[in-house]
Symmetry: C5
Subunit: 354 residues, 5 copies
């Protein structure tokens, strides 16, 4: 089930620490963008090749290296070596199936998260890999090609909006995670409005399609849950870590994100509750409709079967059937049948069957 698992077979049997990209194939180049800023300055630095990476650390200020795409192991490896990242870290960056986690290394914190997007047409959630390396004077952010959510943060940095340029790398890390988590809300909103629409549909005219839609929404909620719960643990262990890279002052901000993940989780659970209830609703609607069909059948059959029997009687060819020769026999029998049918119809009406 590709919706739940990246293709691990790409990696099976390789020694640990092997740098192999696990995940969807991409063809374009991995794009690297370097930004250096201090409280007063902001500059974008070109990184044409691996050598340029080595010179990044020469000057003072905070460096933010954005890597867009993780499908070229050699590039990731060059960055990793330049910033002395542990082999396991490099491996985790390349493995897009890696679940969210936080790990403390001697000179950096390594955080893995997921960037989500929602395809409204297909009602599917796309999960993209995101890694962040937090050092004292540098932040390295890696995301799968095309999953960039950080334009607004970059903009704020450039315009020195808020206090982002006055703060350390931990605040920038916060700003990035905040952008990711805020994006979760947008997805929840979209799913929420789909659920609302679906509820409307199931209440008014439930169809096989509604059911399939419901099934897909449930599946996507399962996938979302699988991404968001560990995300909460990541933020939590970050708050509880005693790493010197996270200043006390910034903790408040991370606690705010933690609150947001909790809110997302609670909303997800509420969505699950509602979809479960919608399922009951759909099934009850189906069985209700069956009921209605059965009633129609029963009313028609129950009224006409006895009447058909009566007309059958007078279709018999017995030599001696006195009624047949009565003057008004035919009309009497029609009248009797009308009474009978009327009586039954009245009975069913009273029983509220049609």
């Amino acid at each position: 089930m590709k919706r739940f698992l990246k293709t691990f077979s790409q990696k099976a049997g390789l020694p640990p620490g092997s740098l192999v990209h696990v995940g969807d194939a991409f063809t374009g180049e991995v794009k690297i963008k370097a930004i250096r800023y201090t409280e007063s300055k902001f500059e974008e630095i070109a990184v044409p090749d691996n050598d340029a990476l080595l010179h990044l650390k020469d000057k003072e200020g905070i460096i933010w290296l954005q890597v867009d795409g993780m499908h070229q192991p050699e590039k990731i490896s060059a960055i990793g070596d330049c910033f002395s990242l542990h082999a396991l870290t490099q491996e985790d960056i390349l493995n897009t199936g890696q679940r969210p986690k936080m790990e403390e290394f001697d000179n950096y914190l390594f955080l893995v998260g997921k960037i989500l997007s929602f395809d409204e047409g297909a009602s599917t959630v796309q999960e993209k890999h995101f890694c962040l390396v937090l050092m004292e004077h540098a932040i390295l952010s890696f995301h799968e090609a095309g999953a960039n959510l950080f334009a607004a943060v970059e903009n704020r940095l450039q315009k020195a909006n808020g206090k982002i340029r006055k703060k350390n790398t931990d605040y920038l890390a916060y700003a990035l995670f905040d952008a990711i988590v805020d994006n979760y809300f947008l997805i929840l909103e979209k799913i929420g409005s789909q659920i609302e629409e679906l509820e409307e549909e199931i209440l008014t005219e439930p169809s096989r399609e509604s059911f399939e839609w419901l099934h897909f929404l449930k599946r996507e909620l399962t996938i979302l849950r699988k991404s968001v719960w560990p995300m909460r643990d990541v933020i939590n262990s970050l708050i509880r870590s005693d790493s010197e890279l996270i200043l006390d002052d910034t903790l408040k901000y991370f606690r705010d994100i933690y609150d947001h993940t909790m809110q997302i989780i609670e909303t997800l659970e509420a969505f699950r509750d509602v979809t479960a209830s919608l399922l009951d609703m759909y099934l009850s609607a189906i069985s209700n409709r069956m009921n209605e069909v059965m009633k129609v059948l029963t009313v028609i059959a129950t009224i006409f079967i006895p009447l058909t029997f009566i007309v059958g009687i007078y279709g018999m060819n017995f030599s001696y059937m006195p009624e047949l020769h009565w003057r008004w026999g035919y009309f009497v029998i029609l009248f009797v049948m009308a009474i009978l049918a009327g009586g039954m119809a009245f009975y069913f009406k009273k029983k509220d069957w049609f």
Copy 2:
């Protein structure tokens, strides 16, 4: 799904600490009411403009600033600046989608809760934002426009009922939360009586409408749960905090509220159990009714189909059918059919089918 999420899109992409109102739009003015009291005095102070705010802290006594409405960021910001509230606090006050939480700051405690109301007609729970800032000599309470539950507390303050004027701000905070939680009980009671009514209805004459009502009640219970569980955590972390703003003496009172939230949660869970059982009941009623319909159909069809066959036989036009010419053939066949029908009716009666 607006029932579960405020529109976060209003805020997405803004830097943290941006003061934007998130929530339903209101048109009226935000109303500010300031009360100053000591053990012996009680006065209401007019707050015509932001300047007046600055003079509030001049005199001794406890100040209670009630803010009715949080849709004007500039007003909240003025108050925030005057009382030196952290940027995140100001942001959380404006964000009506913020979940209940407690945060300790250097000179104040910040509490977020939810004020609930129940619209009996639509069977929906309305969730209103409530924030409280607890300082040594001041309490700031913010609630969404129109969600004021504190008239009774104000009254007690004015009349010096009980010990409320002899105590510190923490006791006033307790009184406010007590009013909020007491209100939850009222809502539970209303929902409870709706459940009772619904149970009655499902037991006697279940209809499609009962089912929809049940679905809505379940959804509202889900929403209630989402408000009440974190509320319990707020009170709990308040009890466990070692803030100097909460006196030991007042802890007992907060523990009392904690007990109440526990009771509310247990009642909610019991309600969920009962609604689940009602669903089973409804479904079983539906399938029971289908059963009944089927039985009627079966009884009628099973009695008349064979009879119709018999009369069909004697409607055949074979040249040589001896029975047709018997003297009493017609009456014999009528008698045989009566016996047959009676026997079947008896059999079904015995099987308890009608």
Copy 3:
């Protein structure tokens, strides 16, 4: 839903600490019974009025004050003042909706529990409020009017059975809670035998009434659970408290009660499992019966509809239908139909349809 909530509206809006009775109305007088005992003596002391209360503490020995009924706030308040009970304690005694809890005060422990009774006719559990104040030389027990389970304990005290008169107040408290928890077992037994009866009924002849009975039993199990779980927490926090009022020696006895509450809880959970299984059983019985009805209908219709078609053919009035004029046409066709009917009956028999 009165089964889950006492009418809180009686109290809403009152200041905390207001002494108001919350619960069912009673008309009789609250009865107070005072017992003083030492290892060698036992005497019952008349308490005609509030003054008598004040003299209770004059002599040495342990005082056990039993209060039967809690619907007269002024009486509870008089006792409370005499024994210096905290305002919140007095409030909790009067509030029959208060959930089980334990609270430590400076000079006493306050315990709230529930006394249960089971009305077998209506299959309903009645929950009565019980409060106990444990002091060094006095025990105050409060229970709702008519919920007295303590005759046996009183008897043991009077006859100096066992070591009850040699021990402190904590042992008496244990004896009272033991009586309450033992009573839970009796209720479980009654419910258990109802479940057994119901199981028998559902296995042999399930009816709409069985289902309603099941629904009521499930509801009562929900209520029981709501009473018993917090009871366990009360006993547990009593065991874990380091109050000097509970002697180490008595802890073993409370641990015994704790074990009993655990056993009750496990039995309750097992009951819930069984009732869930009974529901499945009932539903399957219903759908089984529907199946049977459908089979009868199908067998009859499937045999006779084709036969009716055949006789219809020979009832047609075509001028040229050679079979009609064959000598044995009628009998041949009867024979053919008998073969057909027999074959179908055989087929259905083989398919085990009747």
Copy 4:
């Protein structure tokens, strides 16, 4: 429900510490068997009367007192007094409804467990009470009459197999519990093979009986769970206790038992999963069969009802019906009906209805 609760009414109202046997009545004598062993010796000692008990402790070596039956309070009490057992311990030994637990007393550990047996015919689990008192030089084991699992252990002791005679009482206690837990596996195996058989039956020919069998198996799993979970806690608290009666060396063995109880619990949970799935399977089989029945009915009715209508037309007695007088009218109509029936049969075939 006797399957879940011993008759507590036998004991209600008695003072704590009353020695009353709670449980099924037995008529035979309680059998006492005493064994004394040292590393080099093994002897069985006759215990004709209570006096003999007193002399048991005279000589050196470890004493193992096996008590078979607990329905004679006076015997239990004699043993209890001789070995100075606490009143609560004696009470718990007599109460066969007591749940598994461990309690530490000054000079002994008291352990309660359950010996299970499985009656394959009735698919029911029998739960028997087991108590063990572990002292420095003595072990007292009590089990309900006829629930002896310890013959193999005794045999090992006598033949000095393994290191059992070189070890302390704690190792003997381990050997006894090991025998009990190993027996659980046998029961699981039996239940497991019943589930397998049932699965086979439900897959091939599900019947009302399969469903009842499933119901009974589920009930027994519920009972098993109720016995095994607390058993795990007993072993766990024994491992975590810092009693000097349990040597470090023996802890490894108890940890082994703990692992076994965990394995049993996991298997039980897996069984519950499987039975839940079997229930779905049964219900789906039932509804599948209904479906099949409906299809037969529908195919027959849908083919013949229109045909019967057609033959009805030509059975009408209108004076002027030209078709009736055509030379080949009859055969044409037969042909038309054959085409019609064939077409419908083909249609249903294509729809895979029969």
Copy 5:
């Protein structure tokens, strides 16, 4: 149920520490392969008999003893004695039903895990026993015959790929567990693709077979869960142990495996969610199809039953039925019936019944 339990009866009643093989019978020889390596050397040593085992420890370097098969107790015992393994360890190695666990002994760590394989044809998971003894200079790995996953690791050792030869035994242990856990992903992938296929099938043409397949997949997920959850605990307790055999540097690697087991568990839970949803889907498809069948029946019956009644009327043999003699009576009646049938068909069309 052999799928859940190895045959414990093979062992019941034996003294603890008895060396008996529990599990499936194998006929071949147990194969032993010894490898000795240092940073610079790698050699495979022949182990023709038990004597050779004794000489293994003579030279320096790390020894890795791979034992393929555990069905010959005497061989396991010889190895165990040679490396001084505790009797319980030897017993656990032989017991293929032993659940995953970690145990610390004085001079070694003992780890039990499960090697899984998936038979795609039968949709069944095969669980094979795996044990690992981790000493300072030796690693003993035992696996059931034919469950060898370690060829790649051996290869890496031989070719000195990566740092495996520079590290201690703990790193080799990590490499082995990594191979086992990586293999889990492959199995998840296979199950995942089966679920995907099944989903497709249930969406397009659900059949009884799909349901049985679903049932089997669910059962296998239950079995997988039973293997993987304790595996996580093993890795976790290994990480938390303070054994000197696990170097700090290696902990990171084990933490990586821990992350992988977490990911596997989350995927398993997601699979369970999806299979539950598929069950709903299947059931809804079944009831949908029933609905469709009922509609066809109802439409046909409801159109033709009244028509048949009408033609029945004109088949009656009354002497005086004026319509019969009208010139166009026959055609008028045909026309009326056509109108009637058309009207009903239109009505059903509008109701969307066919």
